[in-house]
């Protein structure tokens, strides 16, 4: 009985968590594209104005990112009227929750058919590498190891801490700007 009553609350909490995490990931992608050369190298290949989205099917939480002319990524929020050039779609809210709570690696989620790619597969592979790079920077090693296929051996603690601090700072400033402008 109690479980029945709690179920909608748990589902709502899951939705809120996924929404929040996609928002954090979106802002962090914008930030890392400004501070990390490797990510800038990955993104350089994408055409200017390239619109990328991650969303939960059918009309769940989403994030939209656009590649700018200066080579950085711009976070556009959770909805954009334009059809994205590349979209990675979770088949269900729970599948997104598994990935965004680091219980399932992104690559494993693809392998488990929980995600669909609509767009150029090569660009999807590239964006997955960008997401992996982001996760290795902003998450503690123990958690990041659960999120990516292989934690990079060559990522030393000083580089990680320094880059993570810059990303977090930019994300925090981005949040403040959003609050101020709303």
């Amino acid at each position: 009985m109690i479980r029945e009553r709690l179920r909608p609350l748990a589902s709502q909490a899951k939705r809120t968590y996924v929404q929040l995490m996609l928002d954090v990931v979106g802002r962090s992608l914008e930030a890392i594209s400004q501070v990390d050369d490797e990510v800038r190298g990955e993104v350089a290949v994408l055409p200017d104005g390239f619109l990328f989205s991650m969303q939960v099917m059918p009309k769940g939480p989403a994030l939209f990112i656009r590649k700018q002319r200066d080579g950085s990524l711009q976070y556009l929020g959770g909805s954009v009227a334009q059809r994205p050039d590349l979209s990675i779609q979770f088949k269900h809210l729970h599948h997104a929750f598994l990935v965004l709570s680091f219980q399932e690696k992104t690559a494993q989620s693809f392998a488990n058919d929980r995600m669909l790619v609509d767009g150029d597969l090569g660009y999807a592979v590239r964006m997955t590498r960008v997401l992996n790079r982001l996760e290795t920077f902003i998450l503690p090693r123990l958690v990041a190891s659960r999120a990516v296929k292989e934690y990079p051996d060559n990522l030393g603690l000083p580089e990680k801490v320094f880059s993570a601090a810059r990303i977090y700072l930019k994300v925090a400033m981005n949040f403040v700007d959003t609050v101020r402008s709303s």
Binding site: A107, Q108, F110, A111, N112, D113, R114, L116, V117, D118, G119, L121, G122, A124, V125, R126, T128, R129, N132, V148, K149, E150
Partner: protein
């Protein structure tokens, strides 16, 4: 706890006089006027005549034949065949051939079922939402497994890109495996396509999306290839063993289309695109080197494969800790034997068609290939370059 999906609704019609089942299969899908899609190689080898004769004897005259599918099929080819299909008022498709005629026929089926003249509008995954026209396939090589895969690739020559199509609706209603259709396959194509099927199976068994059902198909396919490929090289007209290889190819196709493939395919796709080498050869060139690269991630399944690669005696005699290495050694030996039989190259240098200066570009293409996502180990640009270096000579 693991999760997987497995799907293969294709009816497999295999064995002696399998071709003679075609008229019944057509009638069971109410097909009265099928269109054959094939290539000149199939016609010149006399394989088309065997199919037409089997149908004629069964009371079904096939009069609409398109036999001009090129090796790398394009949008224009698909449009032209679809136009002919409509003009002739056909009501089903029979593909006869290797990967190119089968992929072309899959794309033609999309156009004639969904309408329009531009196949590009249906590119991508999950675009199709309903069943297509009746579709049958007779493979004439034992390697691609295209008769049981839900994908096709067609070149857009104007934009210089390859258009991928993926949908369960693209799967044929039936695949006909008749030993007569692979009996005259030349030795080097037999070897390369055999190694293609071997690679499909090994990657299906060792990559990220492996699952119990695809494992069963992959292991059985490896056993059949190990037991029969060299025997067929020695005695090409052995129909029984030819059928074993054809079945292995289909089983490998079922396995990998449900578990995906990894770095061997990522490298192979890139090498094939850059140097225009046959797909099966590309697979053979990289298989052992990628297994070595992935070794510590795949030690357990690769050890298990030794039973199917080398048989129970060698498996039992090999210490558990060395079985994975022995599996790689067995594959290397198979490549050496194939090289001795028909000159199938074992290294990039032996192909005579790859320049060392191309390796950087091939490595770059490799890490952007979709297959790399399912490789058990995260392969970087440097890793891909290192594998290419090992495969060089």
């Amino acid at each position: 706890m693991s999760y997987y999906e497995f799907f293969c609704p294709v009816k497999v019609i295999a064995g002696q006089a399998a071709l003679e089942h075609l008229p019944y299969e057509f009638s069971s899908r109410a097909v009265k006027r099928p269109m054959v899609v094939t290539d000149k190689g199939v016609r010149n080898a006399g394989l088309l005549d065997k199919v037409l004769a089997a149908c004629e004897e069964g009371g079904m005259d096939i009069t609409v034949v398109y036999d001009d599918v090129p090796a790398d099929s394009s949008k224009q080819t698909v449009t032209a065949i679809a136009k002919e299909y409509r003009k002739q008022k056909c009501d089903g498709i029979l593909a006869i051939g290797g990967g190119s005629p089968i992929d072309t026929a899959k794309a033609v089926n999309i156009l004639v079922s969904e309408g329009g003249d531009d196949i590009a509008q249906y590119a991508g995954s999950g675009v199709l939402k309903r069943p297509l026209k009746p579709f049958f396939v007779i493979p004439t090589t034992a390697g691609t497994g295209s008769e049981v895969t839900n994908v096709a690739v067609i070149a857009d020559t104007e934009k210089e890109v390859k258009l991928p199509f993926a949908s369960g609706f693209m799967l044929p209603d039936a695949a006909v495996l008749d030993p007569r259709m692979t009996l005259t396959l030349p030795p080097q194509i037999t070897a390369a396509t055999g190694m293609d099927a071997m690679t499909h199976s090994v990657e299906a068994f060792t990559c990220l999306a492996k699952n119990p059902l695809s494992d069963a198909y992959a292991a059985a396919a490896i056993r059949k290839i190990s037991n029969n490929l060299l025997k067929v090289m020695e005695k090409p007209d052995d129909a029984e063993r030819r059928l074993e290889l054809a079945q292995a190819s289909t089983m490998a196709g079922i396995a990998f289309s449900n578990s995906m493939v990894g770095l061997v395919h990522a490298l192979g796709h890139s090498l094939g695109a850059a140097c225009h080498l046959p797909h099966g050869l590309c697979m053979s060139l990289f298989l052992p080197y990628v297994l070595e690269y992935n070794l510590e991630e795949i030690r357990e399944p690769l050890s298990e494969l030794l039973l199917h690669l080398a048989g129970p005696e060698i498996y039992a005699m090999t210490p558990k800790s060395q079985r994975a290495e022995e599996s790689i050694a067995t594959i290397r030996k198979l490549r050496d034997d194939l090289h001795r039989h028909c000159g199938l190259p074992r290294t990039l240098q032996e192909t005579g068609k790859v320049e060392k200066s191309q390796l950087d570009r091939i490595a770059q293409m490799t890490i952007d290939d979709g297959s790399i996502m399912f490789n058990p180990k995260e392969a970087s640009l440097e890793d891909a370059r290192a594998v290419l270096e090992k495969a060089w000579a």
